[in-house]
Symmetry: C2
Subunit: 217 residues, 2 copies
């Protein structure tokens, strides 16, 4: 086991990381910083070493405004499904920083990478999709360590985003990430601060040998 | 932007991380180390703060042997789908360290957590599943920083694993992780070392403003 300093710094980044909406400054991301962050994403584990991710960097403000408009429509759709109390909490919550951030990064999944014989994917097709998410978390932690914020936007229809950035039909968009320098990262997640939902204690999701229904939160 | 030391240590962990099969020593994981690693997983971002993950810690050797037998069957099934050259490469590749590692961690997805109004999931149901993968990558990096190896096993049928650890029908198993102290972490991923597949250059998966088909690897 290694000792001390290294782990503490990793944990510090893990716990400081936030889903960022309102804190973006809009300042440019230095090219070498962006490169390091993307290199961390690209170093993620992937099923059968398929590396099935792509990153489309979207700076263009027209494209970002078009996407934000779509997200706004989806926000209203979701708001219409809420009861009165939820709707009040949701009204306080900012769900994206698409134009305020410095850059949009569309992350997509390409199931053809390494196919047909993807080692480790024959029994569970979604493992390819899982790999893309591992890359996103690497990106998120690297960005956090670099002093950048990341906000994952998921209020969109996949088909809309696919067309917006020209993804081929076989590819699946997995995320729009808002990325850029931030004033700060809030100590408490927005959704907790605004009374949407609280963090669970770790023990609520821990089980020994077998899943115990009584542990459900 | 923060400076220097912190980022370098995060990147060091990101690049040192490996999918571990053959390097486990079987030594026990100190309780406080395991707790820290699981706390890192539990600190992952999740759609609508749903925290839809569960962790079932499997020490029991009978359960692990039963799982390994199932994985062996799936290995043979996959091997039967390969051409001669692939089959030769695959024969050299170890795909699991289920009994050699110190602990199995089954990570599962509970779509009922925070439902029905999961903020950010109404348009894309799989975002809940994505959250579970972010937790897995946090766990993986924390384990790496602590000197532990992690090996994600995906040669199994979800139904088999669900029954083995007693997951309710609504829950979906996402991973079996082999976790424990290791002799070392290989510098090169097993699949690359054994000629299964190579790492791609970052530029092969990078696109500007729109996806360019010519970038496909």
């Amino acid at each position: 086991m290694t000792s001390g300093t290294d782990e503490r710094l990793l944990y510090e980044t893990v716990f400081r990381r936030r889903d960022t909406r309102a804190e973006f400054t809009g300042a440019p991301i230095p090219a070498e910083v962006l490169r390091r962050v993307l290199s961390a994403a690209h170093a993620a584990p992937s099923v059968g070493l398929s590396q099935p991710w792509d990153f489309v960097l979207v700076s263009d403000m027209d494209a970002r405004k078009t996407f934000r408009e779509h997200v706004q429509t989806e926000r209203e759709l979701f708001a219409g499904q809420l009861d009165a109390e939820q709707a009040r909490a949701f009204a306080r919550i900012k769900i994206e920083g698409i134009v305020e951030s410095s850059l949009g990064i569309v992350v997509s999944y390409d199931p053809s990478r390494g196919a047909p014989a993807v080692l480790g994917r024959h029994a569970i097709a979604d493992t390819g999709l899982y790999s893309v998410c591992l890359a996103i978390q690497n990106l998120w932690l690297a960005a956090t360590a670099e002093g950048l914020g990341v906000g994952w936007v998921s209020f969109y229809r996949e088909e809309f985003l696919r067309e917006l950035v020209g993804l081929p039909g076989a590819l699946r968009p997995v995320a729009w990430l808002c990325v850029g320098p931030v004033r700060d990262l809030p100590a408490v997640p927005d959704l907790e601060r605004h009374g949407w939902r609280e963090r669970l204690p770790l023990n609520a999701v821990l089980h020994h040998e077998r899943y115990r229904a009584s542990n459900q939160a």
